[in-house]
Symmetry: C2
Subunit: 360 residues, 2 copies
Amino acid sequence: MNSNLENLWEEARELSFGTTPQIERLHTPPTPLQYLRHYLSQNKPFILSASVATTLQWPATTLWTSTSYLRRTLSSSTVSLHLTPTGHADSLTPHPSNPNSLCFASAHIRRTSFSDAIDAINASHNTDLNKGFVAYAQQQNDCFREEYGALAGDCDSHVSWATEAIGSSPEAVNLWIGNELSETSFHKDHYENLYAVVTGEKHFVLLPPTDVHRMYIREYPAAQYNYSEETGEFKLELENPPRYVPWCSVNPYPLLQNKEKEMSEFPLYHNGPKPFEVTVKAGEILYLPSMWFHHVRQTPDNRGLTIAVNYWYDMQFDIKYAYFNFLQSLPAPNEPTSHTHSTNKNVSDGDEKHSEESTF
Amino acid sequence: MNSNLENLWEEARELSFGTTPQIERLHTPPTPLQYLRHYLSQNKPFILSASVATTLQWPATTLWTSTSYLRRTLSSSTVSLHLTPTGHADSLTPHPSNPNSLCFASAHIRRTSFSDAIDAINASHNTDLNKGFVAYAQQQNDCFREEYGALAGDCDSHVSWATEAIGSSPEAVNLWIGNELSETSFHKDHYENLYAVVTGEKHFVLLPPTDVHRMYIREYPAAQYNYSEETGEFKLELENPPRYVPWCSVNPYPLLQNKEKEMSEFPLYHNGPKPFEVTVKAGEILYLPSMWFHHVRQTPDNRGLTIAVNYWYDMQFDIKYAYFNFLQSLPAPNEPTSHTHSTNKNVSDGDEKHSEESTF
């Protein structure tokens, strides 16, 4: 079984990327037919480079470099700001009552004016102003159209070649404003994702869905950060009644002191084929195919901000999805076959399909 | 593993076809985008119905109902005629020196004038004229363009929406002229196949690639029929040096006296989900996706002939193919894990990829 899986990991790479696996870079947008034929149908990512001809032809790429423009335009907007102690939202963190195990922690969400949000993001990477939290303006529920309507005219409401290929408009369009401290842990989405960076850079680590056993997806108890303005401290509380979230256990960038432990705990990840690492720069678009595992970090622009817009299109649940579920249903090599919730058991995709936590 | 596989078989059906699995029927041709989005990308078959608006707009549909037209037009053509004792070419038959095992028998190929070919096909289902063989005019090496060039003006040289979607012309176009005795055993092709029936009817039994374990693909020694004009008899000879062909062991229509044996030998086929059975009539086109297993029988028109043209387009070897190879590499439930050639061992797809025998 182990060698069968290893062959699968290698073959998925060779078939899609040839012998020197790297993400393809296009210099002109694909036609809808090309996008369907070469990328979506094949579940294969690419980056659309920025160039005079192909860069996002949006006012946003210049307008949004001015924070005062953003403050002015969004002066009457209320936005969702995610607060966490270290910038790791929707990620695994020590269990509040049992530090030897992990829980899945969601950010404290503060509904606030855009101006306050920007101040908080700026404060969170400035040691002098730091209030003990990292702020990230984001919300996956179509927040660009819901909360940032005043910016709608600054960029395309959809990616035209993707909309024509897929045959429908985006299911959600999300805006992300953060700094270098915000990081998104490994997960996958049940959407076709067009990810456009407007200012700064995003750094993705990508693995194809065929690598599912390498991610050590297990169920973790859900917990919630609550931030107190008074004390300036976070309290992490388990949900009650308990709820379990399937999540990837691996971290592509473990702290030096944890590295050995992580390598012995997650050998399929650390000893298997190298993940794809790609940087998406301002003006570029990444096509991140449905079901691909991704981890995201960011580098800010000279103001200290990274701003991105992503378009989620409905994926087709077709034979690829059936194959994926079958693959995931097989036990990993050298893994015990059953766990209980309290020991973070391995899971199938069934529960995750409609879980909000499985999304970015 | 058994229940995992059963879930896969069911889920592949449910996702592609809903709860009452049957092949979709279109009444107008898809656009190239629709074909890519809903069918090719999803590896999902459909039938394009014949109607005033959508029927093959070919002179062939009327011209080819006249045998004298065909004889006249092809009067100087040499064609490939496949001769077998019973109409089963490229199929499993008792081993010539060990009747308890099977071999993979290829037809005797006679290069002959078209008029002789038609006489032979007519003779082979007419008891009075029967010479002890069944004749089938076919050749998978692009025979429509190679041998039947004189008919080129009678039908489209490609399927326009498929060509535009796939981005290239057909790799091969094949013509098939036979009668009710000719039958093609279960196999799969590494091509996207558009199968157009011109006269008579074709009856397909179809199973998705996820059903690979149900087909009991094993390696059989290759053998060749040789027909003697003098004796009017066939001699079946093993290839020397020996060559082994991976082929499906199951037969959807076993003889009554073999049925019980086949059901106990191939339980995953006979006890699993019902295969798709579809009839393609004159003027209709079947999209038979790459890697789908298919078995084909035919009903002739009132002259006693079935004529079809099929277009093979190159398939993409993408993540679906990697998943398929992984699936096939897993042992079937309740199967011994190793065999030798002489006992018709189970095989992986590797060898078959470029094997001519794996094609129609």
